[in-house]
């Protein structure tokens, strides 16, 4: 339930709704989309990436000297969890064809594809199989399947949304594989939204010039990922998945090829070694680093683990200076602050409006532009709505959707969203949601080519952990597509690569070398990475955690 002081503003949203409904029905843009110059201005002035301390120089490693997101530079300049001298690599605990690090969408897609190519894999995952951002995507997956659309049109939308920084070969792979992925997933059993004739239901997303968002109600990610997980579990002879066993360092061989990893059992605190002829990193992004203090839409384990272990081994990163804030995170009630409000809401006709109930931005600008416009509305124009705890937000008018589509549309198309708010006495078919940008996506990552190869032989990367596909800003629905396209490509190419690999003796020398580089750069820190889990322990509890030394697993 919204507190009473918000009611006058809610009333205004109601009063302007009919006018905005007529506008939306006219078929013309409900607000003028920004020109290139306008986009540039709002981004420079309001996007969090442009704050003076948002970025800093990284002092060691393959990207040394480059200016990147400060929190990322921090985890790159940190110590390993392990002392390499304690590990005997001569008799590994597991030997397999491919080590897949991460059990989300990209990891599962890679495991299934590699299996179909005859390769065995070990999937190392920090939480449970499927505990990943892939599970949480609501709105949909882009693919140019309609008569009015083309894959090249999808290419243009994606590269424009990414400020033309995307690597062309990756955008081509993404967009050209798209329709095939829709089919591949359907063959595995994904239930796409369709009409009775089998026509795929297609909606718009931010920055799309054609309707190409494919969905499974608003449980798109959950339906896709659970299908992939079920398929992984149907092949226990080929795919071994190890839960609560994150990989914390890569292992190299004498020729510098990536040859597996060190796994950490988070429950018994033991370490295990995996020897593999190829390794795929599919560890996702970094929302739980809470960059610039933002709430996040991300799952509990999104701490950029793959980035740091690949970086220590010598992999190059790309576009780590760019962070994606989703325009519409929940900002009220407090308990769900940061929760994702799917862009599909705007795709279906929902509009962001200010405290006077007025439109202030085209509802489907690319995400960074839309987010910046919302921040401007709240903090420069002072047209936001204040929550009881002092946060600001704007309204996202969802009842309009029922007028534009049909009654009952929200319950049918947005069951998750409806459920989330009804817990708190807010019925989104009748009242708008209060939103503010929320930390959402790692635009950059480990640089790959269209075979998911990195600059390190034997290391493949897929999904959010990779960099280059989305340039410096990803469009909605392109990440679900990304983890399927590149998860599959990684599985396929790793399976082909291992046919000619004979590994030499294994080594963790690069971990020791990295420690030395830290010392040589005079970086003094007690930071340790991979971070594995964020800590939400309150200060007063921390002050009492005074164990003076560790004894076994007791502290």
């Amino acid at each position: 339930m919204y507190p009473e002081y918000m009611h006058p503003s809610l009333k205004k949203v109601e009063q302007t709704r009919n006018k905005r409904f007529e506008l939306a029905k006219s078929g013309k843009p409900v607000f003028p989309p920004m020109s290139a110059e306008e986009r540039d201005t709002v981004l420079h002035k309001f996007h969090p990436d442009y704050k003076s301390d948002a970025r800093r120089k990284v002092h060691i490693g393959p990207n040394k000297g480059e200016v990147i997101t400060s929190e990322v530079a921090d985890i790159l300049e940190s110590h390993s969890r392990i002392d390499p001298s304690l590990f005997d690599l001569s008799s590994p605990d597991y030997e397999t064809d491919i080590l897949i690090i991460g059990g989300g969408g990209a990891g599962c897609a890679a495991a299934i594809t590699a299996m179909q190519e005859g390769s065995k894999s070990v999937v190392s995952t920090k939480l449970r199989l499927g505990d990943a951002n892939s599970m949480m995507s609501q709105g949909g997956m882009q693919a140019a399947t309609s008569v009015t659309d083309t894959p090249t049109r999808h290419y243009l939308d994606a590269i424009g949304g990414g400020h033309f920084d995307n690597k062309p070969e990756l955008v081509r792979a993404l967009t050209e594989d798209g329709p095939e992925i829709v089919k591949w997933l359907e063959n595995l059993g994904v239930v796409w939204d369709k009409d009775d004739e089998g026509n795929l239901q297609l909606l718009h997303g931010g920055g799309t010039s054609r309707r190409r968002m494919h969905s499974c109600r608003d449980y798109t990610g959950a339906v896709i990922l659970r299908t992939l997980m079920d398929e992984v579990r149907n092949h226990p002879d080929k795919i071994t998945y190890l839960e609560f066993m994150p990989t914390v360092e890569l292992i190299l061989d004498s020729k510098g090829r990536v040859a597996g990893g060190i796994l950490y059992n988070m429950e018994t605190e033991e370490y295990f070694t995996v020897k593999a002829n190829a390794t795929i990193i599919a560890t996702g992004g970094y929302g739980r680093l809470h960059i610039r203090g933002f709430d996040t839409t991300n799952h509990y384990g999104a701490t950029a683990d793959g980035l740091i272990m690949a970086y220590r081994a010598g992999a190059r990163l790309l576009y780590m200076d760019s962070v994606q804030y989703h325009p519409t995170g929940a900002v009220f009630p407090e308990q769900i602050a940061g929760f994702l409000i799917t862009e599909k809401i705007r795709g279906a006709g929902g509009q962001p409006v200010n405290k006077e109930g007025e439109l202030f931005v085209f509802p489907r600008e690319p995400r960074d532009v839309e987010s910046s416009a919302i921040i401007r509305e709240c903090y420069e124009k002072m047209m936001g709505i204040k929550t009881p705890s002092g946060r600001l937000g704007v309204w996202l008018d969802s009842p309009l959707i029922e007028m534009l589509q049909e009654e009952g549309y929200i319950n049918k198309q947005f069951p998750a969203m409806h459920r989330q708010f009804i817990h708190y006495g807010i019925d989104i078919t009748k009242e708008p949601m209060l939103v503010y940008p929320s930390l959402h996506y790692q635009n950059g990552g480990i640089e790959i080519n269209d075979k998911c190869e990195t600059n390190l032989p034997g290391l493949f990367v897929a999904g959010e952990a990779s960099g280059g596909v989305h340039g410096r800003n990803r469009l909605m629905g392109n990440s679900v597509l990304d983890y399927n396209v590149f998860g599959r490509r990684a599985g396929l190419n790793a399976a082909a690569y291992i046919k000619s690999v004979k590994l030499g003796p294994l080594s963790l020398q690069h971990v020791s070398d990295y420690e030395k580089a830290l010392k040589d750069a005079k970086i003094k820190t007690n930071r340790i990475a991979p971070v594995l889990l964020p800590s939400y322990t309150p200060e007063n509890v921390r002050k009492r955690q005074l164990t003076s030394h560790y004894e076994g697993t007791l502290r």
């Binding site: 399947t145 008569v147 243009l156 109600r217």
Partner: protein, 242 residues
Amino acid sequence: MTEGKKKTTVKTSPKEKNTEEMVTVFIMGKAHKVPSKATIMGAIEYAGYQIKRGAGCREGFCGACATVYRLPGDYKIYTGLACTTLVEEGMWLSQLPALPAQKAIYDINKVKPDVTAFQKFYPEVFRCVSCNTCTKSCPQDLEVMDYVQAAIRGDIGKVMDLSFDCICCGMCAIRCPAEIVQFNVGLLAKRLYGKYLNPKSKQLDKRIKEIRDKKYHKGYLELMKMDKKKLEKEYYARDSEA
């Protein structure tokens, strides 16, 4: 401040204010004072626990945080997701770190989309006694028993529809006197529906064939050759579908 909150503030934890109203909850039997508006997950973390098992997406999609609880003066056992359920005074709660559940191994390409699928892989569904405990224990408020009954009738479409929003938290399975693993039944039905029964899109097959025939190859080469200036011009000049 034009940005997020302070670094120390946490999504599911309530703000720490002395003036805040507090309640007492019993986390696995141990009493803790926590803010009255906290979610169960927020309360567990507020009390100082570092969750390993028992948190996943934290937004109601993954089912990792299934929790059982009782309330004072009430004989009933309640179920909820820790990430979206609010605490109450006197709540006695425990999370389920994992639960045993049989999952059939099958080749989806060889399963027939009818009642034989359930007879073969999940014959327990036919033991359903229609007690409705599964439905009552579902934190998503799904009609679980109805979809089990639909499975018995071989109505794959109905099972798919009613189980669509299932998050596989397992609360139904752990409470079921017939020992059915409802969420896996739902998952099998969804896969069968998506693969075999959802009507096919002819346009999709046409598009895939076009791509295989390299229809867009030339267009791609042109786009990939363009410098930023040319691309920018193309991009901002493109028309948009309503």
